[in-house]
Amino acid sequence: MSDTAVPDATAPEVPFRILPALTDLNREFWTAGARGELRFLRCNACGYYNHPPTMICPVCHSKDLAPHSVSGKATLHTYTVNHQPWMPGPELPYVIAIVELPEQAGLRLTTNVVNCPHEDLVIGMPMRVTFEHHSDGDDEIYIPLFEPDPQARAS
């Protein structure tokens, strides 16, 4: 190990997470965070974001779909403060949320809200994506989490 690997006691610990099995369909979603991008499979024919991803566009039935980056902005659609230790994971209590993306009505993600006191959570508040990096075998996975969007707040 190099001398740069000395643990930083002030850095937040990355929690245990069950990671997704990567496939050709979902790989971009779970790995594009390496470049700071949130990517969804999108139909090249009609522009529909197809999530969770499937081979055929559910709107126009085109098979011409490709990963497409979105803004990473979202609004908090709903949330729960989870107190139950279901499994090893983030420190209890932690926030499970559904965020909705501005790119398409009803395009939502289940996620965790981080960097936000629980008492500050308000449905409808502007959020932005932040990624949590996990290495597992050959896979570099970036879990998309959401935090309050300070730019949207200031505006």
Binding site: A21, P52, T78, T80, W86, I96, T110, N112
Partner: protein, 401 residues
């Protein structure tokens, strides 16, 4: 004859095994106890049974979720079947019973034995529900796929947070409160006190409810049903067999099975309701009866909020009006309520018999066999509704046609 073929079917008998928090009994034994009780209750013998239906069929994961499959029962009772079906892909747990109605109406069978058995209490032992969650053992090389790909990486493995997310959205849009939602578990506990087979029977106050530990806000421990062991069975028969039955049956007046939104816990178009919205709406297109004709409602309460969603979906109040409707508890009270709800204690207090308990109780009440918990006034119309999230199936039942 009506074009709605379910009207040619009846519930002719019901049965239940011993029910307990943890019985440590053979799940097939519990299943067969329920099946034999239902067959006898109908006044039939195993020789009369020519169809079998179940939910979800054989499953080893999660532990205790399924006590037996169709072929286990067929072989154990040496049944000769003209039709059979078991599986988890159906309009909720009672979708299996609705399948049976359709098979009977189609002439494939005259008497279909329908069952659902669970042994989740014993299977979970003292380790709790989390022990049965995917990846609940904590790590190794397990990777999430399928629907769980979108929840497990976020430490959301259970329907508790999924339903909590819906409840919170309902609270936000309509101003629903925990004090309102709490009437559903409090009402259930009150009714369970009159049910000798219920798991939890000691009275629950609003203070008890508001002070118990939180699971996933706004849902606390008392908003979650209680895992148990037990089997439940019902017999679906053709109306032409009524002369062969032990007593006048309960008629199936209408069923609802629709699935119109996305079959997902987070992508559904309106997270303040569930698939029950569409199944219930469909049911009312298949009958001349209306919600105001219904005298009792046995509605899935795997989590309290699901029962609230069913109350709204079935039209006992408007969408979003569930909170004020249940406030104070009078409207859903067994004795004198507008619509007595979960008169046996529901899954919240009588045990997670997983859908079938509601149909069993609706029939018990319509036959006037509720004993201490009997709804007064000889009720003649009731509903049994089961399923949460993308699962929903409902039956409208009457004592006459």
């Amino acid at each position: 004859m009506s074009k709605f073929v379910e009207k040619s079917t009846v519930i002719s008998g019901i049965g239940q095994s011993d029910i307990g928090r943890r019985l440590f009994r053979d799940p097939l034994e519990l299943t067969l106890d329920a099946c034999l009780a239902a067959i006898a209750d109908a006044g039939l013998t195993t020789k009369d049974i020519d169809g079998v239906a179940t939910y979800p069929g054989p499953m080893s994961v999660p532990p205790g979720f399924s006590g037996a499959g169709v072929v286990d029962v067929q072989d154990a009772l040496r049944l000769d079947l003209g039709w059979w079906s078991g599986g988890i892909e159906s309009p909720g747990q009672l979708g299996s019973v609705i399948n049976a109605c359709l098979a009977v109406a189609a002439g494939l069978a005259n008497h279909v034995l329908c069952f659902r058995s669970v042994w989740e209490g014993s299977a979970q032992g003292t380790k709790g529900r989390a022990s049965t969650m995917p990846g609940g053992g904590g790590g190794g090389s397990f990777r999430a796929s399928g629907f769980m790909e979108w929840t497990l990486p976020f430490a959301a493995p259970s329907a508790a947070p999924w339903i909590a997310l819906m409840a919170q959205r309902h609270f936000y849009e309509f101003g629903t409160t925990r004090e309102q939602l709490g009437q559903i578990p409090i009402n259930a506990r009150k009714n369970a006190g009159l049910n000798p087979k219920a798991i939890y029977t000691e009275p629950m106050t609003m203070d008890d409810y508001l002070n118990v530990r939180m699971v996933s806000s706004p849902l606390s421990l008392y908003d979650c049903d209680v895992p148990c062991d037990g089997g439940t069975a019902v017999i679906v028969s053709h109306v032409d067999t009524i002369p062969d039955l032990r007593r006048p049956p309960v008629h199936v007046d209408a069923v609802g099975t629709a699935l119109r939104g996305r079959p997902s816990w987070d992508q559904f178009d309106d997270l303040t309701t569930m698939a029950c919205r569409d199944a219930a709406a469909q049911l009312w297109t298949r009958t001349d009866l209306t919600p105001s004709d219904v005298q009792l409602a046995e509605m899935y309460d795997g989590f309290s909020f699901i029962a609230l969603a069913w109350l709204e979906a079935m039209g006992f109040c408007g969408h979003g009006e569930g909170g004020p409707f249940v406030e104070g508890g009078q409207n859903i009270a067994r004795d004198g309520g507008v619509i007595p709800l979960n008169t046996h204690g529901g899954q919240l207090s009588a045990g997670r018999l997983h859908g079938y308990g509601f149909l069993h109780e609706a029939c018990t009440q319509l036959w006037g066999e509720g004993g201490a918990r009997q709804v007064p006034g000889n009720p003649e119309v009731g509903v049994a509704c089961a399923g949460g999230g993308p699962l929903a199936g409902a039956l409208l039942l009457t004592t006459h046609r």
